[in-house]
């Protein structure tokens, strides 16, 4: 038998999670239900978070946006596409319309798949994950959230409350390679954010390492060498070098969807292209 726990307030949800740390949180169910249906796991309890209204809300909190963990991909696209264009672009590549209606930002983080489509733009934007338990709340940078394939710093009694992220202050791009045009797990993906105000660059790599990860050397290189003062056409060599650095930051493996060599190669192309597109957008 499996218990199905249905708190209706955030406080109750945290209390239930503290009481039943083995309970698996479920929101859209687009990952959890697949695992159950394929008998890959049989948790003693499911913790249904769909009735907790706080999780489905988003709003401004000072300089940042606080996006509830229960906000669906469809809402990220429709309601936050202007403020978080990179995340919205990634959300458009998730599954099918039905999956985007059900799947949530928090669920994506909770699953902590190296291939999660939402992770690279959150990394590029420097987002922070807000974790909560009856013990209190803590904020973890997305870059520190993932600890391995399908593993994160989330403690057994914690739930993901929200993502804190600044609205885009420059062009954001997302690119993904799949074996078909939709409904597909990424072979590799890459997100880029330009911050012309502070002359910095954010990156996020997906499906090419045990966890989603940034490419810090590529970020520093681009920040140092992009012609911030006199925006004009991008030097192709600069874009190429950026791509090489992104590729070097990956630690991919061979699997049924693609080889490690292709993942590295494709990342260098995606990084070069997204930087070129973002720079063109900045110059417009």
């Amino acid at each position: 038998m499996m218990d199905f726990l249905t708190p209706v307030t955030w406080a109750d949800a945290l209390a239930v999670k503290a009481d039943r740390p083995e309970a698996v949180p479920v929101a859209g169910g687009t990952d959890v239900m697949v695992e159950l249906n394929f008998h890959r796991r049989r948790p003693a309890a499911l913790l249904d978070l769909t009735r907790v209204p706080e999780l489905a809300a988003w709003g401004r909190d000072g300089d940042v946006l606080r996006v509830g963990a229960g906000v669906s991909y469809t809402r990220l696209i429709e309601e936050l596409g202007g403020l978080l264009p990179g995340l919205a672009a990634a959300s458009r590549t998730v599954g099918s319309p039905q999956i985007r209606n059900r799947g949530t930002l928090g669920g994506n983080l909770g699953s902590a798949s190296p291939a999660g489509d939402g992770h690279p733009p959150l990394l590029a934007a420097g987002a922070v994950v807000e974790l909560a338990s009856v013990r209190g709340t803590r904020e973890v940078p997305v870059a520190d959230f993932f600890t391995g394939p399908k593993r994160s710093v989330l403690a057994p009694d914690e739930l993901i409350a929200a993502v804190l992220v600044a609205p885009a202050d420059g062009p954001e791009q997302f690119a993904k390679i799949g074996t078909r045009n939709a409904m597909v797990i990424a072979v590799s993906s890459f997100a880029l954010a330009l911050h012309p105000g502070r002359r910095s660059v954010g990156t996020g790599i997906g499906s090419a390492a045990p966890t989603p990860r940034r490419a810090p050397e590529a970020e520093e290189f681009a920040a140092a060498h992009l012609p911030w003062d006199g925006p004009g056409p991008l030097d192709p060599d600069l874009a190429r070098r950026f791509g090489e650095l992104v590729s070097a930051a990956a630690a991919p493996i061979d699997d049924v969807r693609g080889t490690a060599a292709y993942r590295r190669h494709s990342l260098s192309v995606l990084a070069r292209r997204t930087l070129t597109w973002a720079w063109e957008e900045l110059c417009e």
Binding site: S96, T179, R180, N181, A182, I185, Y262, H265, S266, V269
Partner: protein, 742 residues
């Protein structure tokens, strides 16, 4: 007079399907219904040492656990005969759960029956089965050394070797030769509806609701497997959610459902899971082909040597006939085709849309492209130079062939003559563009038995026309309604076509693209027989305005018989029947098919593909597919074009996406729709479909050549040829992967 045939009318079963009212074989509600779940072997070879069923038997709701130790014995396994023959049509000559031996992974080793599906699924997980594993072969690579030349293949219907002329002499005299090796992944069908059977016994009579391409094939197979008289079995198939060959033959699950139902004394539903669909209903086998072409300096073929190597099961010599169409399409005097097989630990492979035609023609049509390149000929020109005016085998005339018109129209739609033929010459920014073309062809197979239909006209002028055929989603029920309306001379709205029931007049299974041709023949014969019968009655009736008229002068339209030259002289069917106090009139029509026409009769087509290749990433996007087909008479332009379009998109999928991988453990490694890729809407290009109507007086009364599969033949080759035009790369392996293009 034709008024309904050809019109692009909507599907008669469409509203029921889109509203969810349609009942598929796993939807039939029955009082007392219980659920069966099959359990497959985890190993591909060896034997069962023990099965501990105690925990499963004691689980909530469980009614029975059947294994080889207690499965009630029935009749015998019939020979493997394609279901188009109209007889029993077992998918393989092995029936499971007779002993402890394991021949392939997924082989059904137990059936658990419980009150609910969930209880049955749970109990199935409680079975403890210990196996003794044995060495196995599941791939071409593992079995290459033990390959043998097949004496006969395809249920014994085809020889393992075909030769005409002298292929060695033909190659010796060739000015140019190409010798190419091709490799193909295995494929699975993946219809949206998984196979399912609901079985209910009433005394010694069995009713089966089965997802099948042939209700009669299910009936006759069950009769033999269960040792029950055919008269005591009825098979009902109201709706089928696609099939593509996996429901063309009858596998073991319908019999297991019937045996389980008899064992527990309750109606039993057995629905295969998506994963079980990969190891229960056959597949298109992994294969290699070696193709050698020789041509003279003008590009005329002097020799074709085409060998195939593929794994089959331990029970049956099965290979899809990959060499057939490719041997018949072009005028070439010297030919040799050989099938070699490997005994492997898989189930017997089976029909998968374009069984053989798709793979063999991929080889031939890409090799021709290479030959054309070597000779400096346009790909279309080399095909025209080898155009077979008569059948290459014995030189008999084709039943009909407007392939030249297909080439011409397709080239016009594609702008073929205006393209820059140089490799890599076409670009869209950094994207490389390419055009390729290929020929499509699919034989007109004939059923092995007479096809029957019954037509009944009621006194109000409405009609019911019946045949046992199931509509597997092709639109045949709609097309038959049109054929019946024209045969009787009544309005379409007045006709109901009843189908999908073995109690109705006999037809063979809807397979081999033959369904529309053979069933339209029976419906045409039955409805025109009834029309003629009613005309004769009017001519003999002193009360009729047509009394004494010449029957050749009478026509019927909108339910009214009238003189051709004097339309005012006539009366309605309704008036005739009512005057005679007849509630209805009825006729049965039987169509006796001609002997096998597959050698001299084909649906033909020409396909053109435009692809875009991202050279940095190795990504191929098909931008445009153009297909022009000569399929004889088109019964319904909408459903026929949908079939052709679906076939072309399937061909694109064959080229770029589909492949079942065998794992090192001897099990299919990607047995799910998440990992076995089929195209999504976002992959579908612009598809242009046209048909060139031809008159065919050989194949069947209405000259219908069939559209169910031909759309797929040639698509993959056209795409591969387009990729070459874009990139210069020649690809000989399907599916084509990203890494092939880097």
């Amino acid at each position: 007079m034709t008024t309904a045939i050809g019109r692009p009318i909507d599907r008669v079963d469409g509203p029921a399907k889109v509203t969810g009212a349609g009942r598929y074989s796993a939807d039939v509600p029955l009082p007392g219904l219980v659920h069966a779940v099959v359990v497959g072997s985890r190993i591909p070879a060896g034997r069962i040492i023990s099965i501990d069923t105690r925990a499963a038997e004691q689980a909530n709701g469980v009614l029975a656990v059947l294994t080889h130790l207690n499965l009630p014995k029935g009749g015998s396994v019939p020979p493997l005969v394609p279901s188009l023959a109209g007889a029993a049509a077992t998918g393989q000559t092995f029936f499971p759960m007779q002993d402890e031996v394991i021949h392939y992974a997924g082989q059904h080793v137990a059936v658990v029956v419980a009150e609910t599906l969930e209880q049955a699924e749970h109990a199935a997980t409680l079975l403890r089965i210990d196996y003794a594993a044995a060495p196995f072969v599941t791939t071409v690579e593992q079995g290459r050394e033990q390959a043998y030349e097949a004496r006969r293949i395809f249920g014994g219907f085809l020889p393992g070797r075909v030769e005409r002329g002298d292929v060695d002499a033909g190659l010796a005299e060739a000015a140019v030769t190409v010798d190419l090796g091709y490799r193909y992944a295995a494929n699975h069908h993946n219809p949206i509806e998984c196979s399912a059977t609901t079985a209910v016994w009433q005394g010694d009579r069995l009713t089966v609701y089965d997802a099948t391409q042939g209700p009669n094939a299910t009936l006759h197979t069950l009769a033999e497997l269960l040792n029950v008289m055919p008269s005591h079995i009825r098979v009902v198939t109201d709706f089928v959610g696609g099939s593509f060959g996996c429901k063309a033959m009858i596998w073991d699950h319908p019999a297991l459902a019937a045996l389980a139902a008899r064992h527990v004394g309750r109606p039993v539903r057995l629905a295969l899971s998506r994963e079980q669909m990969f190891s229960s209903v056959g597949h298109r086998e992994q294969q290699e082909q070696q193709l050698t072409l020789g041509a003279d300096a003008q590009g005329r073929l002097t020799a074709v040597r085409h060998h195939k190597l593929s794994p089959t099961s331990h029970f049956d010599d099965w290979a899809e006939p990959s060499l057939g169409v490719a041997s018949q399409l072009y005028a070439c005097p010297n030919y040799q085709g050989v099938y070699r097989l490997i005994r492997a630990n898989t189930m017997t492979p089976t029909f998968t849309r374009c069984p053989g035609e798709a793979s063999g023609m991929f080889a031939l049509e890409t090799a021709l492209d290479e030959l054309a390149e070597r000779l400096g000929l346009d790909p279309l020109e080399i095909r025209l130079r080898n155009y077979a005016e008569t059948t290459p085998g014995d030189g008999t005339p084709w039943s009909s062939k407007k392939l030249r018109e297909c080439y011409r129209r397709g080239a016009e739609l594609a702008g073929w003559d205006r393209r820059d033929p140089r490799v890599g010459a076409l670009r869209d920014g950094d994207t490389l563009l390419g055009w390729g073309m290929a020929t499509s062809a699919y034989p007109c197979y004939q059923p092995g038995n007479p096809q029957r239909a019954r037509a009944r006209l009621y006194a109000d002028g409405s009609a019911v026309v019946q045949a046992s055929i199931s509509d597997i989603g092709t639109g045949s029920a709609t097309a038959m309604t049109q054929v019946a309306a024209d045969g009787l001379g009544v309005q379409l709205e007045r006709v109901r076509f009843q189908y999908g029931d073995s109690d109705l007049p006999n037809t063979a299974a809807a397979v081999g693209s033959a369904g529309a041709g053979m069933v339209s023949a029976a419906v045409h014969v039955a409805t025109t027989a009834l029309r003629d019968q009613l005309i004769a009655q009017a001519l003999a009736d002193p009360g009729s305005p047509l009394h004494g008229a010449d029957p050749r002068q009478v026509t019927v339209a909108e339910g009214r018989m009238a003189l051709r030259e004097r339309p005012d002289v006539g009366e309605t069917y309704a008036a005739l029947l009512q005057r005679a106090f007849m509630a209805d009139a009825e006729a049965v029509g039987t169509w006796n098919p001609p002997p096998d026409t597959s050698g001299g009769s084909m649906t033909f087509g020409a396909q053109f593909a435009q692809v875009a290749v991202d050279p940095d990433l190795g990504l191929v996007r098909v931008r445009r597919l153009i297909g022009v087909f000569d399929a004889g008479r088109i019964l319904n332009r909408k459903t026929a074009h949908s079939q052709l379009m679906g076939g072309m998109i399937w061909g694109m999928s064959h080229a770029l996406l589909e492949g079942t991988r065998m794992g090192p453990d001897g099990r299919w490694a990607n047995a799910s729709l998440g990992e076995y890729l089929v195209p999504v809407n976002a992959d579908a290009p612009e598809v242009v479909v046209e048909t060139v109507e031809s008159t065919d007086t050989v194949v069947n009364p209405l000259g219908v050549k069939g559209v169910g599969e031909v759309g797929m033949v040639g698509t993959a080759a056209a795409i591969a040829n387009a990729i070459h035009h874009a990139t210069g790369k020649r690809l000989h392996r399907l599916p084509i992967t990203i890494e092939d293009l880097l």
